[in-house]
Symmetry: C2
Subunit: 319 residues, 2 copies
């Protein structure tokens, strides 16, 4: 690594994986993931989103869209915690009444996901959960679409007005190349003197892991990964690759390989994630994967060349 | 790119892909791949191995283990060639009588694959095909297992005694990380003043593409790729990613996406390649993938954690 700061790993298997199936995982699956991550020695596990049931109909959305405290207690049982548990929240999809104070909750951290344009709302929400006693974080999504001026301004505001532990570069479109990662990590570092910088990669260009290594080498110290890289569309940086790379005696890869063998082989037969050409195409075009996700749900799911032509011929643009 | 030299791309879809199924591809498949690569504007296509039929029983091995001149003429038909066609040869598996002189062959280049320990034999074979009129190359396999002293000596011999166009770093085990790639490319460059340096990545750690970009950035100018990354075990750097990254008007990605849509979706239902946990495990252990390939052919194909324990417990070592 190119720096001396300790690297912190966060698992977001259930949270990001749930974007594929509206968080309809069985309790058994979530419990096995929790047990594996806890046994592997990770510092942080983001177990789901917290959202208001007023905004998302329970039933259509599974339990990890809401990640209620009681549900989390059910999963933990009497397991001693090595790993801090937390949730992600989106701007405008959660209310203060959705949180108990931290000392009455099994959760210890909350990450606020935001687009740069909503950074001021994210700051308010991060401060709200911080005041309730949670460790707070901000993740800036769709980072491949922002300009440097707006980004520096937003980061300065986060630096000045929050107590977040880390601010994370989120490559939502899986569009970043090495040089982009370096530029962004350095922009974050230079505007965030008192916060750690994080990185959350996607695998559209088969660079989820490689970009995470680049981010670490340039000074990111808080990195996200998921088991088998599960996550929306092309998925994320695989946790098993991070652990095999780090070779840190603090971590154990074996519980992760075991849960892959026991759970993820079958899960992969039910739901789809990982590098596929439609996601590569949206990644290279720096677009949200939603059109590619729609293609994969259609009867034209493997018509990659047609899809490429549709996205790149001028008729597609709304001028 | 970190240098001004023009990058040359070589497609080895049929050659490396054939390692999966003993080169039992249909003529239609090979013809479509050739047409796509030729239409995409690549400079080089390695269409198979050339080997002696005395050593490999035809029937068990498909046509692209031998890549006979007449067979290649059948594939080309009357298509005008944008792309130079060539073959790979292994030390000791081909004889001089297996080659016509280049002016009587549809082939224009031959690449000699070798382990470093056989470099003197590789030099002889490269010189033999060069004297027959073919453009010659040397690929040094299993490069993650060689020491710097032997490597420098071998490269100096290649530099002095051959007319090869390029010498290629071959990460056979898919074990190289960025820093290893940089070190190797620079070692090759400093010992090969008159030859280009090439790179052939494997995807065991999801770094096939990323390592190829690193190699280019450090001065490699001759890079291998395959359509969809097809190749033994975890496969190779995907050609479609290289073309989408390069955005070079000389190349066209559309024929490659079309042949993926038309051929590779169905092919992937018959044979397996790409990032899978057993290949990740051999990659991280810097081992040949053969034990992982054997696992994938057994009824324990998804027993990843068991496989990891078997390879890493002391009983496995022959002391």
């Amino acid at each position: 690594m190119g720096n001396d700061k300790k690297l912190t790993l966060l698992d977001c298997t259930v949270r990001d994986g749930g974007l594929i199936n509206k968080w309809q995982f069985t309790d058994d699956m979530v419990r096995r993931v929790f047990q594996a991550v806890n046994a592997a020695g990770l510092e942080y596990m983001e177990i789901g989103y917290r959202a208001s049931e007023k905004m998302f109909p329970p039933g259509e959305y599974g339990p990890w869209r809401f990640s209620k405290d009681d549900k989390i207690r059910e999963i933990i049982g009497d397991t001693p915690l090595n790993t801090k548990l937390g949730v992600m929240v989106d701007i405008g999809r959660v209310e203060s009444e959705d949180f108990a104070s931290a000392d009455e909750s099994p959760l210890s951290f909350v990450r606020v996901a935001t687009y740069l344009k909503d950074i001021e709302k994210a700051i308010s929400l991060a401060n709200l959960v911080h005041d309730l006693g949670y460790e707070s974080f901000i993740n800036i999504m769709a980072i491949s679409t922002v300009n440097d001026y707006d980004l520096a301004k937003g980061l300065a505001s986060v630096e000045e007005r929050t107590s977040v532990t880390a601010v994370t570069v989120v490559d939502s479109f899986g569009a970043l190349l090495e040089e982009n990662v370096k530029h962004l990590i350095n922009t974050f570092k230079s505007n965030l003197s008192s916060k750690a910088v994080g990185f959350h990669g996607h695998n559209n260009l088969q660079l989820g892991f490689a970009n995470t290594l680049t981010a670490i080498s340039d000074g990111a110290t808080f990195c996200d990964a998921t088991i088998t890289g599960i996550g929306r569309a092309a998925g994320n940086c695989p946790l098993e690759l991070m652990l095999s790379y780090l070779k840190d005696p603090q971590f154990s890869i074996e519980p992760i390989l075991q849960v892959i063998q026991d759970v993820f082989i079958d899960l992969r037969k039910e739901i789809e994630w990982g590098y596929l050409l439609p996601y590569m195409i949206t990644g290279m075009l720096n677009e949200h994967p939603r059109v590619a996700i729609a293609l994969r749900k259609s009867d034209r799911k493997d018509h990659y060349a047609d899809f490429f032509r549709e996205l790149t011929t001028p008729e597609c643009y709304e001028n």
